[in-house]
């Protein structure tokens, strides 16, 4: 009813090529940003912020990374967890070697390291495709996981083999370490995620994004358009790993606050993020957020929602129920819409546009 583009005429190509050409979309995004940046920090409980919102944002960022290579460029990667780990370790090493440089700079810079490693492991993608490439990227996962455990230099020779996140400040406010409040960490994380989503959207809407999609949809024709496949694919891997690396760094520094990396960045994490991307929608930025939300927030609602409305279930039962329901939901959504939640969202928008008429 209110979601109409009627009467919104575009007079310039720039207006027509905007990411959100419809006024209502722009209002919607503004509302979401205000809620995320003002309402949630002011009203959200510590539990909500640290157990729901922070993981959600971290996974959205990681899913965005994987979506660039898998959704946009059509190259399946199972190394996401490892690339996240590279980011986390890079950030840890950088901040222990250069403690005076602001941690936010190191979080963003750590992506560069995982981009380099991602591009190196992306080399086979020129020759192999599909499932075979997925298996080749598994090599990255296993090799890097091995490094995380066996190279003590990475965790500064600590006896436990874990990353200990030091305290770092921004304008004298602790943003990492034990003294950082969840709200501060959440706000820093939100800033990083919003910035990186904006950049991803810029890249993907321009020449580079079209190059990626051309390689995905028909690589032979793409080559004929003058696109060189190897640089295009490597760039996709590098960009994707950059996002994953930053996601890994924020995961360690702003969410976990330290821990054993081999556990956090194992193959299950890679699959977890791959599922988020598939359920959210391949080749869609909003799908990353929807997928991360579904796979993150639903388990939490199941775990804490039932006791909250008075249904007492044991924690073990809750855990089992959790697996059952999340699995069921995944199957349900994939049957209803194989192209993911992003497509469902598009269909909803289309219906709203034509409402009350069917088409």
């Amino acid at each position: 009813m209110f979601y109409r583009e009627a009467g919104q005429f575009k007079k310039t190509y720039a207006a027509d090529m905007a990411v959100f050409p419809i006024l209502q979309d722009r209002i919607g995004i503004a509302v979401i940003l205000i809620v995320a940046a003002v309402v949630i920090p002011l009203t959200g409980s510590t539990f909500f912020i640290s157990s729901v919102m922070i993981p959600f944002l971290v996974f959205s960022l990681a899913a965005m990374g994987l979506n660039i290579v898998t959704g946009y460029t059509g190259l399946i990667s199972l190394g996401t967890g490892a690339f996240m780990g590279v980011g986390a370790f890079a950030c840890y090493k950088l901040t222990t070697i250069f403690p005076n440089v602001n941690i936010i700079i190191w979080i963003l810079a750590s992506g560069i390291f995982s981009a380099a490693i991602g591009a190196a492991f992306g080399l086979p993608s020129l020759r192999i495709k599909g499932f075979y490439l997925a298996v080749a990227t598994l090599a990255a996962q296993f090799f890097l996981e091995w490094c995380f455990v066996r190279v003590p230099w990475l965790y500064n020779y600590s006896a436990s083999g874990a990353i200990q996140v030091p305290q770092r400040t921004l304008f004298d406010v602790a943003i990492t370490g034990a003294n950082a409040t969840p709200t501060t960490r959440y706000l820093v994380l939100l800033g990083i995620v919003v910035l990186m989503t904006w950049v991803a959207s810029n890249i993907l809407h321009g020449r580079i994004g079209r190059t990626f999609m051309a390689v995905r949809d028909m690589d032979i024709a793409a080559e004929l358009m003058g696109i060189r496949l190897l640089p295009a694919k490597l760039m996709a891997f590098a960009l994707s790993s950059f996002y994953c690396g930053v996601a890994g760094a924020v995961m360690m520094f702003l969410w976990y606050g330290g821990g054993e990396a081999a556990d956090a960045f194992n193959i299950r994490q890679s699959f977890n993020i791959l599922f988020m991307v598939i359920i959210g929608g391949l080749g869609s930025l909003i799908g990353c957020f929807l997928g991360a939300a579904l796979l993150n927030i639903v388990p939490i609602i199941l775990k804490f929602g039932f006791p909250a409305i008075g249904i007492a279930i044991g924690s073990e039962t809750a855990e089992h129920l959790n697996h059952l329901l999340v699995g069921g939901l995944i199957i349900f959504f994939l049957i209803v819409e194989p192209h993911g939640l992003a497509r469902l969202w598009q269909i909803t928008k289309q219906k709203l546009r034509t409402w009350p008429f069917p088409y």
Binding site: I203, H205, G206, R207, I208, D217, M218, I220, L224
Partner: protein, 264 residues
């Protein structure tokens, strides 16, 4: 490689000399020579399996012939990569449509502009300033092509959802966006009805008129071939059996035999 020359209309744009292409024991093309003159429509015809598409693949670098050489714009080469062919101004369409199915018509044609876009990765981070100006400039060019091919109404439709005839037209648009010197069309009218064929013929002739593009055309519809092309080369079993104007080729006994069969 020698620098490429500008070719004047009427001059030889492409020259194929004694090209042979084999896949193991299968001889796809045997000792074929012909040339394409700038500004003409050159048809390549022949029965199924005659090596027509292989010939196009040799010209734009997908296949590397075992023997023979190709001179394009004054530079001779025996091997090249498809993306190099693209930078030198060779564009093509495919027999079975090879569009980017998940992208809109507009984006598909914009991909054709990729080579003309120079702004670095850095500017793309912002999508403002130089990168955006470049996008808008190329969008204008693409809109002209969309106008030319009369596909304004499907500008924002994903091409996977379009009917076949329109997909063929979008594919032509994508090739034209490259501003090619030489346009290779592989059966542009296959599977079309009469009206769509007439439209497509009009677009091909207009392309030649308006953009001055030289066209190499593979087509099975003889009416179309004879009406559109300036010269025709006929292949059979990978061997050239005739070369000349449509009237000469029509009268050639070998060509008649190839198409109609010979009484034994």
């Amino acid at each position: 490689m020698k620098p490429l020359r500008q070719i004047e209309p009427g001059e030889q744009l492409l020259n194929v000399e004694n090209v042979s292409l084999r896949f193991g024991g299968v001889k796809a093309i045997t000792d074929v020579s012909f040339d394409i003159v700038k500004g003409e429509v050159r048809a390549i015809i022949g029965p199924n399996g005659a090596g027509k598409t292989s010939m196009l693949n040799v010209i734009n670098g997908f296949y590397h012939p075992q023997e023979g050489q190709i001179t394009y714009r004054g530079a001779t080469r025996s091997k090249m990569r498809p993306h190099v062919a693209a930078t030198q101004g060779i564009a093509r369409t495919f027999q079975n449509v090879a569009l980017f199915k998940g992208m809109t018509t507009l984006d598909n044609i914009m991909v054709g502009r990729t080579l003309k876009m120079q702004k670095s990765f850095f500017w793309h981070l912002f999508r403002h300033g130089p990168a955006m100006n470049e996008e808008i400039e190329h969008r204008k060019f693409v809109e002209e092509i969309i106008d030319f091919l009369e596909i304004e109404h499907i500008r924002k439709v994903p091409v996977g959802k379009l009917p076949y005839g329109l997909q063929k037209r979008v594919e032509l648009g994508r090739a034209l966006a490259m501003e090619p010197e030489l346009l290779l069309l592989d059966e542009p009218m296959a599977g079309m009805n009469l009206e769509e064929k007439e439209d497509m013929c009009r677009f091909i002739l207009d392309t030649k008129e308006q953009y001055g593009t030289t066209i190499a055309l593979i087509e099975h519809d003889m009416g179309v071939v004879m009406d559109l092309s300036d010269r025709v080369v006929v292949l059979e079993y990978g061997i050239k059996i005739a070369d000349g104007t449509p009237d000469e080729v029509k009268a050639n006994q070998k060509v008649i035999d190839a198409y109609l069969g010979v009484a034994h």
